[in-house]
Amino acid sequence: MARTVVELIDICKTYDTGAAAYEALHKINLKIEEGEFLAIIGPSGSGKSTLMHILGCLDTATSGIMKLEGRDISKMSANELATIRNKRIGFVFQTFNLLPRFNILQNVELPMVYGNVSPFERKRRAMDVLKMVGLDDRWNHLPQELSGGQRQRAAIARALIMKPAMLFADEPTGNLDTKTGAQIMQLFKELNDAGHTIILVTHDREIAAQTKRQVEIRDGRIREV
């Protein structure tokens, strides 16, 4: 029996827009286990992003309980959430979000700077991860000197560097051509095979179909596909 990585119990998220309260998420219940490769699908405005922010500890729910590796994190402070994001969660974004003035190695090292890893250890670990995504010969390049696919690989390396409990990918192939996108999806599959828990957020059913399990969000309600 695989361990539960994250569990959502009756999660609601309400935005107070002044005139009327807008309910973005309604009683979401979701359980993700270690080694899963899950896709969250849904059109824009469905509450997909809100769910991802809550799962990624960037935001907190209005009500309900969220357990990450057994710990209730719904009532944690902003700083505690930052530490959890640092150590337990890896983010991959559609627009890569690498820091433009830092080379690939420094970008990959960045989470370790906030995680208090010694500089020597940082470099060693970063090079290991870069080797895993096939960028070890490009470590001293700036992001803008690399292709989109390479940048996304670097971003994946950065997300993996702290050995997180789960990896979030928000439309990771959205800014890539089909061929490069397929390569990135292949990399995710390999990572999943190696034991990583991956959560893919997308509106593209074709991409979602490549994962092992899909859930759909529509009007703030969740549904297994």
Partner: protein
């Protein structure tokens, strides 16, 4: 977050916006330079003033000078007489705490002194040996006026370096030569030390060198034909007693002058007090000016940090997403602000050194040589560090309080 990372990020940012960073720093550079240069000039002025007070006898000296006779004593002011040796004897007898007396009879500041066909106009002063202690003179060659010279009404003189150089520059050693003072022959028995102060060809101590001393009694016999002592200084080495003794001296002289208050005792302490009051006023004024320029520099830093944060909202979002805590972002911004101000401070200290050199080079007159003290440079520099921290706090809070989701969405 490691400080090294913060500094590295700050340097990268500054390098990416070289012009902007330099212009921002300029405010701090000028502020620190003004502050440090001001310190240097004040220090120079204080040192010169202290030297002046010391060279004119220090705080131990009390000057007894004539005072306006009050209205109600005018009818019998004729009973009054000049100061004579009797006054000194009365003081000596009644106030043993007085260490030195120096009666003086000056013939004026432009008295003609002649050797061969050369003439100089200097002050000729009849003195006693007390002059050495009270006016802080030292003999370089030969001897000073002694008591025997006075008793025997000897026609001898001691030259300051100015008349000595002017008259004997081409003839060599003045000792033993005869010069003419007001048409009378005097033998040179000594030459005083040379006194220098100031810089750039200006010697504001030159008044001390423009002097010829002769025995006081000789002055009476040869020139003034009376026995008056127009000027009298006394020295009290125990400075804590100066005020009290000058009071008592005034009382004694009151008696010897038939109770006509024609005299006033003035201490140098008043001069010192005056001077330190003035220095304090200067310091406050210049301090305010320097503070304002530091304030302007600080606001410049705050402004640029706000702009820099605005440009980097997305970067802050990314950092927060991958685990930067609020304190990490806060300290990052403060480190960047301090980096700007510290570099400005270092350059400012450098500029202040150039500035003091520059000003001294062009403004020679009426200016004391600046004295650069390391601890004051350090102080000016630390002010810049404080400015960086203080003006970095607001932008830092602004950056730290950004919502990570909003920041990540920012284009």
């Amino acid at each position: 977050m490691s400080l090294i990372h913060g500094i590295m990020v700050g340097l990268k940012e500054m390098w990416a916006h070289k012009m902007r960073s330099f212009l921002t720093m300029l405010g701090v550079i000028l502020g620190v330079a003004a502050l440090a240069a001001m310190f240097a000039f004040m220090e120079g002025m204080i040192a010169d003033m202290e030297k002046f007070i010391r060279e004119t006898g220090g705080v131990e000296r009390v000057t007894c000078s004539s005072d306006q006779i009050p209205e109600d004593q005018m009818p019998f002011s004729g009973l009054n007489r000049q100061r004579r040796m009797k006054d000194i004897q009365a003081l000596m007898y009644n106030i043993p705490e007085i260490d030195e007396f120096s009666p003086e009879v000056s013939l004026g500041r432009d008295y003609p002194v002649q050797y061969m066909n050369k003439t100089v106009r200097v002050e000729v002063r009849g003195v006693t040996v007390g002059e050495l202690a009270l006016r802080n003179y030292e003999v370089e060659k030969g001897r000073f006026i002694c008591d025997l010279d006075r008793v025997e009404r000897q026609r001898v003189c001691v030259l300051g370096t100015y008349p000595a150089d002017e008259l004997f520059g081409q003839y060599g050693d003045p000792l033993g030569r005869k010069i003419r003072i007001g048409g009378k022959n005097f033998r040179v028995v000594g030459v005083l030390k040379h006194y220098v102060a100031g810089q750039g060809g200006q010697n504001w101590m030159n008044w001390k060198n423009r002097i010829v001393f002769i025995p006081m009694e000789t002055t009476w016999t040869v020139f003034t034909h009376n026995k008056d002592i127009p000027a009298l200084d006394i020295q009290v080495k125990d400075t804590s007693k100066v005020a009290e003794i000058s009071q008592r001296a005034q009382q004694v002289l009151f008696h010897t002058h038939r109770h006509i208050s024609c005299l006033q005792m003035r201490t140098n302490e008043e001069m010192v007090q005056n001077f330190s009051d003035r220095t304090a006023a200067f310091n406050i004024t210049l301090g305010i000016v320097a503070s304002i320029s530091m304030l302007v520099g600080g606001i410049g830093i705050m402004n640029i940090m706000l702009a820099s944060i605005n440009e980097r909202i997305r970067e802050i979002g990314i950092r927060k997403a991958i685990g930067a805590r609020n304190i990490d972002i806060l300290s990052q911004v403060i480190v960047e602000a301090v980096l700007l101000s510290v570099l400005g401070g270092i350059l400012g200290v450098g500029v202040s050194l150039l500035l003091t050199k520059f000003i001294t080079f062009f403004v020679k007159e009426n200016l004391s040589a600046p004295i650069v003290k390391p601890e004051q440079l350090l102080f000016a520099f630390s002010v810049s560090v404080v400015v960086g921290i203080v003006f970095g706090i607001f932008p830092a809070f602004k950056a730290a309080s950004l919502d990570p989701i909003e920041a990540l969405r920012h284009e």
